[in-house]
């Protein structure tokens, strides 16, 4: 029942109880991850053995054999790999997303309807299948180049370039949606006025259209970065010897993790919360 109607006490009470239970469900896994990052025990499990910062700053030798996040070279390496991959995916997605937005909103050509539908298709392809199809196609191309011209095209073998392409393939759909939504609301008379006042095409784009689009571009970049950073399904299929963070964490979780994974998780929570708070100060067009 809505707020303006009388609600019996039991309904009010059960609404509150349900909300509390629901948010407890949502936050419980995150809370235990954060808490056990500080537990003085070799496994992230109860009982609580006291507070320690070893899982952040332990250096192996000094920390009683414990290697903390900031001394764990493979973990830091995979974190850096994720940042590099996400930076490339973000750059490509925002640039192509912008050209797609202009294509959809400003151009007319036969087959446009079909093309704009096809642009949404990557959103309904399961990530694993996107991964295997790109993997199979790329190695077929590499094989063909090797057989025909004796060329060794390393970037077509599993590795970071393929990971970037695989993530880009569907993240650019989302970037295009965000940027198109903003471009749709743009008032074309502003551009016409600038042309009438003698501005060149480039000047109009730089001083009017681009500043108007900026919030959507920043929003799309943030989403693209986050989605690339979190991606697992597509990445797992295309990854070579350098594992991004999600793949590295998956591997360690299968072996039985130490709380250093909790430490890196807490680090990620704080970082993404900081990113989100910065963005929410400036109202950008966020779909989610």
């Amino acid at each position: 029942m809505i707020a303006s109607l009388p609600r019996p006490t039991w309904l009010r009470a059960s609404t509150v109880v349900y909300c509390v239970a629901f948010f407890a469900f949502l936050f419980l896994p995150l809370v235990v991850v954060a808490v056990f990052a500080f537990n003085d025990a070799p496994y992230p499990a109860p009982p609580w053995r006291g507070f320690t910062l070893d899982w952040f700053f332990g250096s192996g030798a000094a920390g009683g054999g414990r290697v903390g996040l900031f001394a764990d070279k493979p973990l830091l390496g995979s974190l850096w790999t994720s940042v590099v991959v996400a930076a490339w995916v973000t750059l490509l997605s925002v640039v192509v997303g912008t050209t797609n937005a202009f294509l959809i909103e400003r151009s007319r050509f036969p087959g446009k309807q079909a093309l704009s539908l096809l642009m949404l298709a990557p959103l309904v392809i399961p990530g694993v299948i996107l991964g295997i199809s790109i993997l199979a196609f790329a190695s077929r191309l590499a094989q063909f180049a090797d057989d025909t011209w004796g060329l060794e095209l390393d970037f077509l073998r599993p590795g970071l370039p393929l990971v970037v392409l695989g993530q880009f393939a569907y993240i650019v759909s989302i970037a295009s949606l965000i940027i198109t939504a903003r471009l749709k609301r743009f008032d074309l008379t502003l551009e016409d006025a600038a042309y009438n006042l003698g501005a060149t095409r480039a000047a109009v784009f730089m001083t009017i259209t681009l500043p108007y689009l900026a919030p959507a571009l920043i929003g799309a970049a943030a989403i693209a970065f986050l989605m690339s950073f979190e991606n697992f399904n597509t990445t797992l299929m295309l990854v070579g010897s350098d594992a991004p963070l999600t793949v590295m964490m998956y591997g360690r979780m299968r072996e039985g993790a130490t709380p250093v994974l909790n430490a890196v998780s807490l680090f990620l929570m704080v970082a993404s919360a900081a990113l989100a708070l910065t963005l929410m100060r400036k109202p950008a067009d966020r779909p989610v």
């Binding site: 029942m1 707020a3 949502l26 419980l28 896994p29 991850v33 309904v124 797992l236 979780m253 998780s265």
Partner: protein, 295 residues
């Protein structure tokens, strides 16, 4: 930026159109269309001798003849349907509370609280569930302390565990479309129904659900699709017993290097998810583009 302004000549306009089209074509043809065509070709051939292939349906025949494979397929689909239904049931009251019961700051606070867990990766959330549920974990220890069980019970590697985690992972994609569907419902309709003697359940069935149907279906489509294609959650929380279809695809591709079989499995999964999305759109009379841009 073509025809709309007079200063551009048609040659210039055509050049700009080509420049805008090029990235989209390279992306869609090079990364989506051709790889999937190639995957289809791969799934329809059989290795007869080293580097010798013949067209064949052998891969699809294997799927139907080997019970493990189609059992896993049916199981994955069934569990995804159950997970989608549970997600809908759990998300609806929260979406209703956020859309209709609270106002102002409380409303934005609750909405942000719904979003926060999804800013961190699925790996982190799965780690949380593992710490909570495994035999040496928080919940079994709590059960022993409360005297409910004598020894810690293993809560991982059960179907119920996989379902809980799948529901958790998809919650956001159900809550957001539900909120936008419920917000567009005019409060005065509910007030009128109440004045005319309607009660909670009858208003829910006759007014709220018919109005929110497109949002409900949109949420269900996305949740079902993401659950079906999930790899991380079933593999880590279900262990060897998870029998998830994406796991079979991974095994064929990466472990056994049997790409032909893996490609066939991939196509079966893609076919299922496409069929569900299509059926969902048909039933609700929604347009694909509109649904996807809402989520």
């Amino acid at each position: 930026m073509a025809a709309s302004n007079g200063s551009s000549t048609s040659a210039q306009a055509r050049l700009i159109l080509l420049l805008l089209l090029a990235p989209a074509i390279v992306w869609l043809v090079g990364l989506i269309v051709l790889p999937h065509v190639d995957l289809a070709v791969l799934s329809l051939r059989e290795r007869v001798a080293p580097r010798q292939y013949a067209p064949s349906f052998a891969q699809y025949r294997t799927f139907f003849e080997e019970p493990l494979y189609w059992h896993t397929f049916v199981r994955t689909a069934t569990m995804s349907i159950v997970a989608t239904a549970i997600t809908l049931l759990l998300a609806f009251p929260i979406a209703w509370t956020i859309a209709k019961l609270v106002k102002g700051r409380t409303k934005s606070l609750l909405l942000v609280l719904c979003l926060i867990p999804f800013w961190v990766s699925e790996t982190v959330r799965t780690l949380g569930w593992m710490i909570l549920l495994r035999e040496s974990g928080v919940l079994p220890a709590l059960l022993v302390k409360l005297g409910i069980t004598d020894t810690p019970v293993e809560l991982l590697y059960r179907d119920a565990t996989i379902l809980v985690a799948l529901v958790y992972t998809s919650m956001l994609f159900m809550v957001v479309p539900l909120i936008s569907a419920l917000e567009s419902l005019d409060d005065s309709l509910i007030e009128a129904a109440y004045d005319l003697g309607g009660n909670g359940p009858s208003i829910l069935w006759q007014i709220v659900i018919p109005h929110a149907a497109p949002g409900i279906l949109a949420g269900c489509i996305v949740v079902f699709m993401l659950t079906l294609g999930n790899y991380l959650t079933p593999t880590l929380l279900g262990g060897k017993n998870s029998l998830w279809f994406t796991e079979q695809i991974y095994t064929q591709f990466i472990t056994r290097f049997n790409w032909e079989q893996g490609a066939a499995f991939g196509f079966l999964l893609l076919g299922l998810s496409t069929a569900i999305v299509w059926a969902g759109l048909k039933i609700t009379g929604q347009k694909f583009g509109e649904v996807m841009s809402k989520t």
